[in-house]
Amino acid sequence: MNGRPLDFGAFSFRLVMGLLGLAAVTLLIMPTLVVVIVSFTNSFSLRFPPPGYSLRWYAALGDAWQLQFAAWNSFTVALWTTVLAIILGVAASLGIARSPKWTAKVLDSVFMSPLVLPALAYGLAALMLFSLVGWSISPVTLIIGHTVVCVPYVIRTTVAALAQLDTVLLESSASLGASRFYTFRRITLPLIRPGILAGAFIAFMSSFDNVPVSLFLRDARTDMLPIRMWQDLEGKLDVTIAAVSGAMIALTIVALVVMERLTGLSRRIR
């Protein structure tokens, strides 16, 4: 008899948590699976389940020069954005980590604000600002816009990594005759590198599939992949888009595994 009520409590807790987890996984994984399955269809429609299977839509990607062009644009923009986000984000994090408590708090919130502000509103505001100062819309303005919304990810993980860094190690380095720069290069940077890489990875991914900022800040020549995909889908219900999605999902999974190995990503983005 003893322990029954407790067991029941634990059981119902597990049951509820299990069901919630199952629901979350279902809602996340099922649509992804559906897209991947549909991408292997042999028909001209996005119907699920597909009447038969083939690789024809993946083969078609080879000729889809508009999609390739857009993917290349998205890739280069994401790359530049990531480089800038790393430089700015790490610099900001070092500043935050060295500041007294209250300044650090204020700075932290300011740098994090792009995460909570509506990205559409930011896109519009940035567009107005650029035209106000007379900058025409170009890949440069696009990269600036992406950087603003992606920097917080780098700051988040880098500040966390810096908080883990034992300041005694830095004092130890100084007592051994190392200048501040030498200490940064050989102690600080190697020890926070996994944190920086984790943030950079998330920044890259979030730039790569950013729509709201791109909508406002790209010029007519700069076709971005997520927007192109949406337009193709809207206009012609093109099955190639399912293949693009399938390819992106596969690449993302590979990148995730690599980053997990390199940085312990899952521990850093909690």
Partner: protein, 362 residues
Amino acid sequence: MWEARTVSGQALILNGITHRYGGSLAVDNVTLDIKGGEMVALLGPSGCGKTTLLRIIAGFIRQSEGAVMVGGNAIDALPPHQRNIGIVFQNYALFPHMSVAENIAYGLAARGETRAAQQNRVREMLDLVKLTPMADRYPRQLSGGQQQRIALARALAMRPSILLLDEPFAALDKNLRLDMQIEIKSIQRLAGTTTIIVTHDQEEALSMADRVAVLSQGKLEQFAPATEVYDAPSSFFVNTFVGASNVLDGVVRGVDGGQAQVRLGDGSDLSAPLPPGIQQNARVKICIRPEHLMFSEGAGDLDGTVALGMPLGSSVVHEVRLGDGTAVKVAGPRDAGAAPLAMGTRVSLRPTHATSVRLYPA
């Protein structure tokens, strides 16, 4: 092996060092004159300012007042990395992403010495701390004692003019602690590096250091050779903090030349050397170490009954309750086969020497 040119530690002078954190005084006008090659212990209870003093010497914090001088030159304007002062932290602070060899070579690499010079020095240092087989290990693969020896090797590798050790043995278990104390002492002798060791453990301070600086609430209480600190403590604090001591209350009843007659709470009288500044009728604290009290054959100075007897291997400690209820401890050598005195035995006590009774203003 060790090179002769390191056997010349630099003199270190602390001149009126005062430090305040915000408004609170952590170090209060401390002056120390430490000779080259000497090993000095900073001894005091937790919070008395030892670490603060060490961090001032290392340059991590700037003192509010006073000057630090190494080899006759003031170093107050120098940042930590230009002071050439080695430090071994309490948790060792080895660089976790570097091998043992890379840790030891770090200071030389930071100064841009050649690969070959670095490797030579690493080999010498590993030899010195007897950890040559560990060169390629990482810190997390070492035991506490090994990590400490590597931290020491890393600090000594750059030939520091001064070596600072902050509570170096606090994290080690007792057996290992004694081994490491002996080892560090002999390495320090060999290297001839002027060394300051911070500790709150008086046995450690007395056994390792040439001279001991006792600190209390940021103030220097006494700076003297270990034996002198124990035998001739300069204050009530030092007398009770360093070594065990019985403390009794009394009043000075008579002064005769250099001697004082003191009346205790139970009505008995003791004779003690009269320290300067204590007058007739002054209330005093009386300190007698347990090993400076002995059982008297005839009538002694203090009468009481045995409350407890504890044989401790080669010695025996008795607790004796005096007439007014005060308990005092009496320690002495134990004869083979001798049992402690039974509880309730009436005894009479007297000091072993007249000079072993010490008086301090109450």
